[in-house]
Subunit: 282 residues, 2 copies
């Protein structure tokens, strides 16, 4: 009963299981709810710790009565950072949590916002064009950040503030400048990339230049296409570099997140070997 004692002695107010405020949490599990409120859900100790470290504006946190000590430690940190913290029945939290990895913690934060001009100050930048799987979206953002990308533009596809995407991104959602565009805005994006001096690059399954022998644009915008349709014809036409990763034997392709890892880290390797800090490659 130590755990119950800890929680009841935490000093946080208890929220009733029928509180109308819970509707707000449920609503954030949908794209429409996130879009309407400008807020999203964060689940679990790791994601919430990353959010606090990134200085995200965490507004509200519910912690399960009887949750593990680390959940209460995190709730304490959130409260000191200005978040409102409430206790809630563990079962109710489990029912509300989208991915079953809440560990008794659910938070609400304002979606960080940035604009395209800010993203285009980084180099390289990554463009996710119609990536449908939230896990792929999150993994791509995580890999892009780790490879030193300055930002990402998402054209259509999965919402990066979906809970599965946030979990897979391992903090990149809060750290990497992100912009979301509609597919109709793609021509505007291509123009902005061109004006900012970016060379657009994409991967091709066949007949592209060998990735390991091709020159890399000094300012690189790598576009990654959706799992089924791949890169759009408009982006392919605008690309100054079309690379093929030399795969073994009769292999057709890599998963999009694996292909992105190979290309972005080849760019990083070249940049590190050149000793430079500007531009992704030689």
């Amino acid at each position: 009963m130590t755990r119950l004692h800890l929680s009841s002695g935490s000093g946080f107010p208890v929220l009733g299981r029928h509180s109308p405020r819970l509707r707000r949490l449920r609503e954030l599990d949908t794209p429409a709810g996130r879009s309407r409120t400008g807020r999203f859900l964060l689940e679990g100790v790791r994601v919430l710790a990353e959010a606090l470290e990134a200085g995200l504006d965490l507004e509200w946190l519910v912690v399960a009565q009887g949750a593990p000590e680390e959940a209460f430690n995190l709730a304490g940190r959130a409260a000191r950072a200005g978040a409102e913290v409430c206790l809630l029945d563990a079962e109710v939290i489990e029912r509300l949590a989208p991915t079953r990895t809440s560990q008794g913690l659910l938070g609400v934060a304002r979606m960080p916002s940035t604009d395209l001009q800010h993203v285009l100050q980084g180099n390289p930048v990554v463009i996710l064009e119609g990536i449908q799987d939230p896990g792929n979206t999150g993994t791509l953002l995580r890999t892009a950040r780790a490879a030193g990308a300055g930002g990402a533009v998402l054209v259509g596809g999965a919402d990066p503030f979906n809970s599965r995407a946030v979990r897979a991104a391992s903090g990149a959602t809060f750290r990497l400048p992100l912009v979301r565009l509609n597919p109709e805005q793609a021509p505007m994006l291509l123009q902005a990339l061109d004006q900012a001096g970016f060379g657009l690059a994409c991967a091709e399954a066949h007949d592209g230049q060998d990735l390991y022998q091709a020159p890399f644009p000094t300012r690189m915008a790598l576009v990654l296409g959706g799992e089924v349709r791949g890169v759009s014809e408009a982006c392919r036409r605008a690309a100054v570099a079309r690379w093929t990763i030399p795969l073994a034997g009769d292999c057709e392709s890599l998963n999009v997140a694996a292909a992105a890892a190979v290309i972005l880290f080849e760019a990083r390797r070249r940049r590190l070997q050149a000793g430079g800090r500007e531009g992704p490659g030689a």
Copy 2:
């Protein structure tokens, strides 16, 4: 009604929705059922086409009445390759299919079997140690095959014949020689690797050799640890190479499948640049 006409005109016998044979399909959705029968489930057109191309011993295929034409084309190919094909109510197939991507096709095949000595004839080899997520397991096998790995050893962790793993592997399950071991067999594996002249390599989050500056073993066994616990202490002690991927800024780590892609393709790049076919690196 064209579709119904196509299916009823296919000449395949119809299986009743209460047929006791359906229990056999349901059983293969569990590790125990696969282990007891030595068989596994395959779902959807793409996975089944890859299995046929790989020459997998496909025993039985059920196709939904009213399934798309490509499903019936595939069923025809399977029948010509010696598989028994039955028609089944579409709803029943949907209920039986583990991942909702069956497209009205479910197959049963014998699990391909190989032994450790066969796997150790390849170079590099990949060791998955306690990878828990079937999607990660499948993606890792797909990446390993595309990078030219000669085989994989799975020590504990997710079953590579789980449907999600099979789908993520995109054919690698049938093409790459695979051996599964219990964690208790790890010392035997380390001894066999040593005797076969393999240098064991692993990735470290911090304080390893810079991946891009380190020499690579001529025969490389890359061990990838589970999502939470990482590489075991026994493997870490046995490793002759401990590499750190130089990540940007304050990044802690990559997803295990992304890290594997970066390392395996760095090995492939070196091998291709050396113009050699033996050994993964310089």
